[in-house]
């Protein structure tokens, strides 16, 4: 009797581990393959069948890619745009999310729907007027212009994600804090915000990655101060295969690092909300 229970439990553990391994493989394999290709020599990429183990490691293409004009500058600009976008969209989006979650006001549902409309308009249609506006305000070709555009693009998701998180924080906690003498602001900062942190972190990741991956708007609003994707992504399809892999790898890496940093806030989510 106990033997069968143990056996069943064992089988379940094995199954769980296998599933975990499978999911990990699903995520990690493409990253492994692109890393492998980015760090292979050009000749080995023309070989058939392609070796799946790092037999011919060479950093030559990768170094050539990094030393290409504007890659370092573009990287710097991308980080700058990403950080400004993150700060702006959280500064505007978190209060908006709180308002949507806590207050019932007339037209709340249409408002939430309306928020998503900015994503419904393709940038291509807006490209020339958008560039004209930034040209006349002398913001054209600065990272601020791109950060403003990215904030506009990221805000709807920030508002919707954070409002969902604030809904999950019990109103009673906030009321209890006020009963014990906290001002509403203090109650928000000391009681609500810590509980909402994981959701805000998720929104932050989403915002940063949206900004990091956005190409078209950045290409339209800048000329000599491009972000990394605008600098290389549009031209990569025309480049030799080796450069495509090197560029792809270089674009994936920083986003991964950012997610790794934010990960521990995300993990908090399970400990706070499931409890």
């Amino acid at each position: 009797m106990t033997a069968t229970v143990r056996g069943r439990r064992r089988r379940r553990v094995v199954l769980l581990q296998a599933t975990c391994a499978l999911v990990t493989l699903f995520m990690a394999l493409p990253i492994y393959l692109i890393a492998l290709a980015a760090l292979s020599s050009r000749e080995s990429l023309n070989r058939f069948p392609l070796p799946l183990l790092p037999t011919d490691v060479s950093t030559e293409t990768f170094r050539a890619f990094l030393s290409a004009t504007g890659v370092i500058g573009g990287f710097q600009n991308s980080v700058e745009v990403g950080v400004i976008t993150l700060l702006l969209s959280l500064a505007v989006g978190v209060p908006a999310g709180y308002a949507v979650a806590r207050y019932a006001f007339r037209g709340r549902d249409p408002y939430q729907l309306f928020l998503l409309l900015t994503r419904a308009l393709p940038i291509v249609v807006l490209s020339v007027p958008l560039a004209s506006v930034f040209l006349t305000t002398d913001l054209y070709d600065t990272t601020y212009a791109v950060a403003l555009l990215h904030t506009a693009l990221a805000l709807p998701t920030t508002v919707l994600i954070t409002s969902a998180v604030f809904v999950a924080v019990p109103v009673e906690h906030e009321e209890a804090a006020v009963v014990f003498g906290a001002t509403p602001l203090r109650a928000f900062l000391r009681v609500v915000l810590p509980q909402a942190l994981p959701g805000i972190a998720a929104a932050a990741i989403f915002t940063f990655v949206t900004s990091w991956n956005e190409v078209l708007g950045a290409a339209i609003l800048t000329l000599n101060r491009r972000t990394l994707p605008a600098q290389v992504l549009l031209t990569l399809p025309d480049s030799p295969l080796a450069y495509r892999f090197a560029g792809g790898f270089a674009l994936v890496l920083p986003a991964l690092v950012f997610i790794a940093i934010m990960r521990r806030y995300l993990l908090n989510m399970w400990s706070t909300t499931i409890r």
């Binding site: 023309n46 058939f48 050539a64 890619f65 290409a68 004009t69 504007g70 890659v71 370092i72 500058g73 573009g74 710097q76 600009n77 980080v79 700058e80 745009v81 950080v83 400004i84 291509v124 490209s127 020339v128 007027p129 560039a131 004209s132 040209l135 006349t136 054209y140 070709d141 600065t142 990272t143 601020y144 290409a219 339209i220 800048t222 000329l223 000599n224 101060r225 491009r226 600098q231 290389v232 549009l234 031209t235 399809p237 025309d238 480049s239 030799p240 295969l241 450069y243």
Partner: protein
């Protein structure tokens, strides 16, 4: 005494400090770091271009600029055609132009004729360069004055791995092929290669295969590009194309740049733009032959690609931009571009004997193609401006329906001709070569 919470706090503080330290230089750079190499302060010439987008080509061209225009800092900025168009439009229309030079192939520049400065003075000063009349006329973009200065030219040829020569039909010369011999050769090669086709065409999403129909197949069979689009000769041409496609690698619909499948050995024979073939023979030039395209009943149709540079109206550094134009059309600069990036000079220049072997192969093939007694020069669609893509799409669709979907030839041509005419009727432009060029006449399919 160290407890757990103080370690935690320290680590967090450290992390914060580290992040701030990393972000500070980025955030303090006012408005972002330059990504075009040249400092963008006053005096730098901003050069927006649709050419040399691949990283290596760009780096080589930047080196040429530094070398040949040492006094003027040029910020070379290669972009996609769509970004090129919207940047030019928005800057000129907002009257806040930052771009001083706009470079592209003829089709990229044509829609913006009224947004460019007249360059008759520059063209006049460059009289000693010896631009061919044909090219100088093109540079007027259909108006009365010069709108761009010719920059470089290119064409399309065949690249042949010598392994494929074993199947050449008796009596055929690879440098003087007819389309029938070419088909015969490719059929024998496929049979000899165990049923696997050796021919590849750039039919991928970014491939230039429509130029094969516009500049090679149709001019060679019908002597025209548009007017004879649905005539009996065109039907023969497309029937030929269907037979040729049966002997072409089906993976061709994934090929954008033929040098890559050639290098990998997936195909042995390919037709493409010279700049997209030059990588194939680079490492082992002895194993390769470059040849002119085949000839058909009406002659050897081939397409001439012209790239030019214009100055947008209201450009901030006009005088310096003109200096750059003068330097870029100098014979030595033109030969540098040929050596490094495989685009041919537009000026009268004797080709030096010390060209790299791969370029030499191409230069010879291009010279044989242009020098052929029965050559039929074709140009990419002229004056269609922003609708160039739609015109080319008609040719791509015709290919797709006839060769990939196996639709009957003549009905397909009739439908597509209607499509083409509806675009041309709106544009009301005269025909371009090889069709009869008559000013004031609207080009139509007969």
């Amino acid at each position: 005494m160290i407890d757990a919470s103080s370690i935690h706090l320290n680590r967090r503080t450290l992390l914060g400090l580290g992040l701030t330290a990393a972000a500070a230089p980025a955030l303090s750079a006012c408005g972002g770091a330059s990504t075009t190499g040249a400092d963008t302060g006053s005096g730098a010439v901003s050069f927006l271009s649709t050419q040399f987008t691949p990283i290596e080509e760009r780096q080589r061209f930047e080196a040429i600029l530094k070398d040949r225009v040492p006094d003027v800092p040029v910020a070379y900025n290669p972009v996609e055609a769509g970004v090129f168009a919207s940047t030019l439009t928005s800057q000129v229309d907002a009257k806040k132009v930052q771009v001083s030079l706009a470079g592209g192939v003829h089709g990229d520049l044509a829609p913006y004729a009224n947004r460019f400065e007249d360059l008759d003075d520059v063209m006049g000063a460059l009289g000693d360069r010896g631009f061919p009349d044909e090219i100088a006329t093109l540079a007027k973009l259909g108006g009365g004055s010069t709108k761009y200065i010719p920059w470089m030219q290119a064409s399309y040829v065949l690249a042949v791995n010598k392994k494929a020569l074993q199947w050449l039909p008796p009596g055929a010369d690879v440098q003087r092929l007819t389309y029938d011999q070419f088909l015969d050769w490719m059929t024998r090669a496929r049979q000899g290669n165990g049923g696997r086709p050796v021919l590849g065409l750039p039919c991928g999403p970014k491939g230039l295969y429509h130029r094969f129909f516009q500049g090679y197949l149709l001019p060679s069979f019908t002597g025209a590009q548009v007017t004879g689009f649905r005539g009996p000769e065109a039907a023969t041409a497309w029937q030929y194309m269907k037979d040729l496609w049966a002997n072409t690698a089906t993976a061709s619909t994934n090929y954008d740049y033929m040098q890559e499948p050639l290098q990998r050995g997936e195909v042995l024979v390919a037709w493409d733009h010279v700049a997209r073939l030059v990588g194939a023979p680079k490492d082992k030039p002895d194993e390769w032959v470059m040849a002119p395209a085949p000839r058909g009943p009406k002659g050897l149709g081939y397409m001439l690609i012209i790239a030019g540079i214009a100055i947008p109206r209201g450009a901030p550094e006009e005088a310096r931009a003109k200096e750059v134009l003068t330097a870029l059309t100098a014979v030595q600069t033109q030969l540098d571009v040929l050596r490094q990036n495989a685009f041919f000079p537009v000026v009268t220049a004797a080709l030096p004997p010390d060209l790299p072997p791969a370029i030499k192969l191409e230069a010879d093939a291009v010279a044989r193609q242009q020098g052929a007694s029965d050559a039929v020069v074709a140009l990419p669609p002229i004056g269609v401006g922003s609708r160039d893509g739609e015109v080319s799409q008609v040719f791509k669709n015709t290919f797709k329906e006839i060769c990939l979907d196996n639709r009957p030839v003549q009905p397909t041509l009739d439908t597509q001709a209607r499509q083409l005419n509806s675009i041309l009727d709106e544009l009301k432009v005269p025909c371009w070569r090889p069709d009869p060029v008559e000013a004031g006449q609207t080009c139509r399919v007969r």
